[in-house]
Symmetry: C2
Amino acid sequence: MAKSSGASIFPSRRVRRTPFYEGVTAAGMSVCTVYNRMILPSVFEGEVYDYHHLKKHVQVWDVSCERQVAVQGPDARRLMDMLSPRDLDRMADDQCYYMPAIDRDGGLLNDPVLVKLAEDHFWISLADSDYLQYVLGIRDALGLDVRVWEPDVSPLAVQGPKSDDLMARVFGDAARDIRFFRYKKLAFEGQEFVVARSGYSKQGGFEIYVEGTENGMPLWDALFAAGEDLEVRAGCPSTRERVEGGLLSYGNDMDRSNTPYEIGLGKFVNSPRDYIGKAGLASRSEPERQIRAVEIAGDELTPIAGIWPLLADGRKVGQVTSAGWSPDFNTTVSIAMVDRSHWDAGTRLEVETTDGMRPATVHEKFWI
Amino acid sequence: MAKSSGASIFPSRRVRRTPFYEGVTAAGMSVCTVYNRMILPSVFEGEVYDYHHLKKHVQVWDVSCERQVAVQGPDARRLMDMLSPRDLDRMADDQCYYMPAIDRDGGLLNDPVLVKLAEDHFWISLADSDYLQYVLGIRDALGLDVRVWEPDVSPLAVQGPKSDDLMARVFGDAARDIRFFRYKKLAFEGQEFVVARSGYSKQGGFEIYVEGTENGMPLWDALFAAGEDLEVRAGCPSTRERVEGGLLSYGNDMDRSNTPYEIGLGKFVNSPRDYIGKAGLASRSEPERQIRAVEIAGDELTPIAGIWPLLADGRKVGQVTSAGWSPDFNTTVSIAMVDRSHWDAGTRLEVETTDGMRPATVHEKFWI
């Protein structure tokens, strides 16, 4: 069974269509998901076809569902300092900053990237939860002088080895000079967009923060027109590719019960300020479990739709939360949360999959 | 086109299955949606069939997606008093309290029902947004001594004219004595559940707050076994039935840009305390637009999946946000936000539907 239920999605305003919706439907989106109450494509031609194409050519991804929390005003920096475990003094003006979003106990509330537009103006680019409401709660409780809202900004990603070539054709050669997790403001038809070298794949590429719904389809069409000989196609995050690369998914691989340390991001806990959760995190800096790459033996499995327990001698020592068949590595790659007692590379475990027990091995690192 | 895209939903842990998932798939869920990152059925046999059956018999609805925010501890009541525009002193111990959830400006953050389990223990039963994060934000900013979490509680609704009969067979005759928006704790196989007379239809019925995922399918099966001769079926909220009845949907009919006054719930803004948003609401108590029932002329329309502008002499004076063909009233019923200048009953407007312009009329009230 390749689908959650065989059921399709009921039309409503609540599950929002994106500025690129016309494009993704015309391009043949066949499976999708809902992310921040917005449609996110999951499959076009087929999972394996999309995967190989991503690694060889260039794809345009509608990731509008990465909604922004805009924070602007006199207290914007004060508010961000309260929210960020990562030291914002070290953040360059053109930097995109991975920022663990936590509550007072250090539990993860989201998995966002912070973009600094000005000293008093930030975007928090979200994973799948309404972190906007947490930010509002802090603001409202403390009476801060800052506006917090969801702007009309919809990221469009360009991913794959030919991304630089395609972007240069549409945004000019300046796109090639953008460094990793940095951005430039580049113009398309007179409209300036934040263009960052980032994205949810390991194949290289960009995210264009498209401001204004009306600018969506013209940019979409321009990218496809410019990239015909590059074999550009509509694509989307590929589970198997992101698992090979160890890219985590909030809601799948971690949630509020986990800390930044458990997902291997303790290095981003370095703010000298008295942010919310500092004391909570201090007591949790030596995690008892952590994210690991785990290889699952045997042939291709029924897709995972919950958790798969990891067992050692019949005792649960972790759980697989994302998995997929890797055509390039000819095995099932997975992301798991594993107890300290069993997290060393090479540890042999068993995993209780939808199709029964399978041998599993803790990998030293992710595949790519 | 009866479906949002024709695309089905990609399997993942992030889009959660419910304790009743086995039941709804066996019962033939054919269309679904995602609500609070959880599967919510939208259609079983067919929209019209499901609608007629709901009005004549009894249905069991998997509304697990109405997630609870549990608030418990010494500061629980203090926190609730800060959050609630509605006077909690007037709340009876067994009451389910419709409580507008707002930010400091009075903008709606959710559309929940509050359940008081004890003086220091509440459940906030959510519509579709992470209001949990707002509650956490207030708690964390003020350092309140209260625990805030999402418990393993999944509501199961029993709706339709034969609801009392079915509930009495499974929970005993005490179920019949539950008053509207009140609850009793009733036992099923030795397990006590909060059972309220409430639900998202106008056909009467109950919501059972099922604690413990493992208790889900046994209760589901017991309801179906007990109700065979009552013609019990699996069902779900019916858009056309809830629009006939004027039941609003957060994310469809209102969002953070709206106040309780605009959705006709000013009567629930009555707390004497200094709650968050009191000043913001005070300046917005005379709304310039408000929810209205609007009838749309002509035959059945392509389902709405965004907004349909309402026009008077070519000028926008509102928007339709939910609509559906009503078999019983032989017309398209809709919920709209209409400007004061055009909200009087009988006002004739035009509505720009997916299928083109149609005449529309502001109704005096909803249909049932």
